[in-house]
C-alpha cells in the first residue's frame, strides 16, 4: 500500500499518549481511542497507529486490522471540503448513482480519492436517515437534499472561490 | 438538581410537571376533554373574538376544567359573531353566537359545568367545522 510518510511532532505524540491515557491504556478501548485520534488528526496515518499500538499494548498489525475493518476510519487525509454521497437504498432508487458519477466526472477523481489540490474528497456513506430528502449529498457539515446530476456543478461552484 | 429519592417523589414530581404538557396531551386526545373552538376569522376578530378566546383559555385553567381552547377559521355564521363551538365529551357539539366575556362565563358555569342549555344556540345546519 502506498503510504504517505509523515512526521509526527512531539506535541502530536503527546496528544495521542494523552488520549490513550484518558482511556486507561486499555486494549479494549482501541476503537474509542482511534475515534478520538481521527477526530484530532482528521485521519489515521501509520505513524499515529504506531503510537496507539505502543501505548495500548496492542500489536501494530492488530491496530491496522481494526482500522482497515471499519469504514469510518481512514488512512488518507480528506479534502478541505469532503463530499459524501449517501448510497442508502432510498437515495439509490432516487438516483444517487448518477449523482456520484457526475461528481466523479466533474472532479476527475473516483470515490475514496482526494483532488490533487486537496480541495475536495469524494466518498459514499451509508444511510444518513434523511431519506425524505433523497438523494442526499453532504459537503462538510452541510446537507444538500434532492440533488440531481445537473445540480452538481452548482454545488461545487459554492466552494470554488 | 435534586435527586429523586423514591417512587413517591417521582410521582409527585410528575404531577407538578404534568401541567407543562397537559395542553399537548389534550391536543393528542381532544375527544376526551372539553373543546372550545373560537371562530377567529377576520370578521370574528373585529367583533371581539380574540378577547373571548383569551378569556376561555385563562378561565378554563383557573376553574380547573381540563379543556382545550382553539382558534378556528370562519365558521360561516358571520351574522352571529363572535361564534364559539363547544364540544363536551359524549355530547353533540353546540355552537353559540354573539359570545362576549359575560356569555363566556355563562357557558363555562352553566353549560360545561352543569350541562344546562343556554340561549343563543345556533341550529346545527352543518356537520363539522372542518369538514
Amino acid at each position: 500500500m502506498s503510504e504517505t510518510k509523515i512526521k509526527l511532532k512531539e506535541k502530536d505524540v503527546a496528544k495521542i499518549v494523552e488520549i490513550c491515557g484518558f482511556f486507561g491504556n486499555e486494549p479494549g478501548e482501541l476503537i474509542n481511542v482511534l475515534h478520538k485520534c481521527q477526530g484530532e488528526f482528521g485521519y489515521l496515518p501509520a505513524e499515529v497507529q504506531e503510537v496507539v499500538s505502543d501505548n495500548l499494548n496492542v500489536a501494530l498489525a492488530k491496530v491496522y486490522g481494526v482500522v482497515t475493518f471499519y469504514s469510518f476510519f481512514t488512512m488518507k487525509p480528506k479534502g478541505k471540503h469532503p463530499i459524501s454521497i449517501c448510497t442508502g437504498t432510498a437515495c439509490y432508487v432516487r438516483g444517487a448513482e448518477n449523482v456520484m458519477e457526475e461528481f466523479e466526472k466533474e472532479l476527475g477523481i473516483k470515490q475514496g480519492e482526494t483532488t490533487a489540490d486537496g480541495k475536495f474528497s469524494l466518498s459514499s456513506l451509508r444511510c444518513v436517515g434523511a431519506c425524505g430528502l433523497a438523494p442526499v449529498v453532504l459537503v462538510g457539515e452541510k446537507t444538500y437534499g434532492r440533488v440531481a446530476a445537473d445540480g452538481v456543478k452548482e454545488i461545487l461552484a459554492e466552494y470554488e472561490a | 438538581m435534586a435527586k429523586v429519592k423514591t417512587l413517591a417523589d417521582l410521582r409527585k414530581m410528575k404531577s407538578e410537571l404534568q401541567s407543562k404538557i397537559q395542553l399537548r396531551e389534550n391536543a393528542e386526545n381532544p375527544e376526551s376533554v372539553v373543546q372550545i373552538r373560537v371562530g377567529m376569522a377576520t370578521s370574528g376578530i373585529a367583533s371581539g373574538a380574540k378577547e373571548v378566546y383569551h378569556y376561555f383559555t385563562e378561565e378554563m385553567a383557573k376553574r380547573n376544567i381540563n379543556g382545550l381552547t382553539t382558534q378556528v377559521g370562519d365558521m360561516g355564521y358571520c351574522y352571529a359573531e363572535p361564534t364559539v363551538e363547544v364540544l363536551v365529551p359524549g355530547k353533540d357539539p353546540i355552537v353559540f353566537g354573539y359570545v362576549d366575556v359575560k356569555k363566556a362565563d355563562q357557558i363555562i358555569e352553566k353549560y360545561i359545568k352543569q350541562g344546562e342549555l343556554l340561549d343563543g344556540i345556533i341550529p346545527p345546519n352543518y356537520q363539522n367545522i372542518n369538514e
Binding site: 500500500m1 509526527l8 512531539e10 501509520a46 505513524e47 500489536a59 501494530l60 492488530k62 486490522g65 | -
Partner: protein, 590 residues
Amino acid sequence: MIKLTIDNKVVEVEKGTTIFHAAKKLNIEIPILCYMNLEHLDIENKPGGCRICVVEVEGRRNLAPSCSTKADDGMVVRTNTMRVINARRTVMEFILSDHPKECLTCSKSGHCDLQDMAQKLGVREIPNETTCEMSSYRLDTSPSIIRNLDKCIMCRRCETMCNEVQTVGALSAINRGFEAAVGTAFEMNLEASTCTYCGQCVAVCPTAALTEVDHTPQVIRAIADPTKTVVVQTAPAVRAALGEEFGMDAGTLVTGEMVTALRGLGFDHVFDTDFAADLTIMEEGTELLGRLNAHLAGDKDVKLPILTSCCPGWVNFFETQFPDMKDIPSTARSPQQMFGPIAKTYFANKLGIKREDMVVVSIMPCLAKKYEAQRDEFKVDGNPDVDFSISTRELAHLIKQANMDLTTLEKSEFDQPMGESTGAGVIFGATGGVIEAAARTAYEVHTGKTLEKVDLKQLRGMEGIRAGSVDFDGLEVKIGIAHGLGNARKLLNDIREGKSHFHAIEIMACPGGCIGGGGQPLHHGDSEILQKRAAALYREDAGKPIRKSHENPAIKELYETFLGEPCGELSHELLHTHYFDRKRKRDIED
C-alpha cells in the same frame, strides 16, 4: 455422557464434544480445512470460517460447522446428504475461484491441504472461472519467508500461531470482505515488521500463502562449482524428523542415512552442528559460570538470570520487542554461527584454502536461521560465515530430486574433525536440552567433580514453562525453561518486573524446541510427533560414548590448537556477538 446419531450410527461422547470429534469416534472423517487443534499448546484454531466441515443437524434451519458445533443429547446428524455434499463442493468452488490455479508449479503442490480437499470434494470446474475477480496482493519476500497472500484462504491458522502462541503480533486479519486476508501492519514487508522468522506460520499454512525461501538451487549450484569446497552441517533436530518426509514413523533416527544422502548429494565434507553445539556449551557455559560467580560475589553490575542465545527466532524476538533487555542474554552465537567461522578459519586453514573458496551450508529445522545467516555481523568482508541455510523440508526435496530414497540408504559416519559430537550437543534440539547440556559441563567445571547422574530429567518435558534446579555441590542453581515465544514473554516480563528468581533460563522460540521448528516436516499439531522426536534425541544422547561437551576430543583439540580458552580473545571475535535494538523507530519532527 450424551448420545447422538451420526449417519444412522449411535455414538456416546462426553458433554462438550464437537460433532467433528464425535464423528471421528465412529471413524467418520468429516473434511476440515481451517480447523487446527494444537492439543499440546491447548490451542484450537476454529474460526468456523471455511465452512467445509458443515453437516446437517435435524431441526436446524442451516447447516452447522462440525468443528465448532457441540454435540447435544439426542442430536441427529448427517454428514453426507446431497445437500451437504453440494454445499461443500459449492463452497470449495468459491474458495478456488479466488485462488491462483498454478498447482503445477506451486511449491506446496502435493502438500497442500486445499488441493487435497478440492480433490476429495470432487471439484472439477469453477463456474464462470474466467470472469471471477481475484484478490490481488503483492508478493513479499523476506530473508526467510515468502508471503503470497493471493493464496491465503483466511483459515487464520498463522494468525493464531503468530498472536496467541508466539505473541509476536506480526500478522493479523486485515481489510474487510472480499479484500480480507491475513497480513502485516500497513501491508509492510515482513522484514520491517516484528516478525521473528520463527516460521510457525509457515508450518501451519494449508496453502502456499506462507512458504520458506527456497535456497536449494543455490546449494546445487555451489556443489556443482568445482572451485568451491562445500561443507555441510546438520542440526540435531533434523535427524529426528527427516525420516517422516520419506514415510518413516515419527521419532525414527536417520542420522547415518542422512549422512550418506548428503555425501550422495556431493557435499565435500559432511559435518555435524552438534560439534558446534558442544562448542556453544564451552562458551555459553563459561559465560554462565562467570556471571554466576561474579553475581554471587556481590558484583551489582552483573545481571542474572543469564538467558540462552542459541535460537535466532528468540534473538529476533527480544531485539524487536524487548530491546531494553538486550544485555541479559548470553553473547554466545548460535551453534550454526559458531560452526561457520570455525569452518572458514580453523578448518579452511587445515585444508589450506581461502575462505572465499569454501561454501558452508547448514541444514536446519528452522527458518530464522536463514535470516541469521545473512546478518551483517556474521560476514567477513561481505562473505557470510554460513552461506546457505536450508530447512529439513528442503533437504528432503534435494534428496528426492537426486533420486535417493532415505529408507534404502546405508548408514555412515560424519567426517572429522567437525563431525565429532557428544550427547550434550544432540539434545540441543529439544526444549530443555541446551540448559541440560550447559549444566552438565558447568557442574563439572564449577565443582571439579564428575557429574554421576548425567540425565537431568528435572529439566525435560513438554510443558511451556518449566522450572528446575541443579545442585552444584551445595549451590542450588535455579533454572527456568520456556519454549514458544508467548511463554518467553511471560518470563521476560517477570525479569523486567524483578520477579524472576532464576539464575539461568533457556528459551526456544518454537513450541517443543527445534524439533518443532518452522522448517520441520509438518506435524499438523500432533503433539505425539513432537514427543517422539524429542525421545529420539534423548535416545541418541543416551547411546553416545561421550555425553558432556567439554569431553569432546575434537573440541579439546580446537581449543588447544586454535582458540586458546573459552571466552578468550579469539573466541570473542569468532564465537560471540552483540545485539541490536530493532524496535520500529518513530520518526519525530522537532
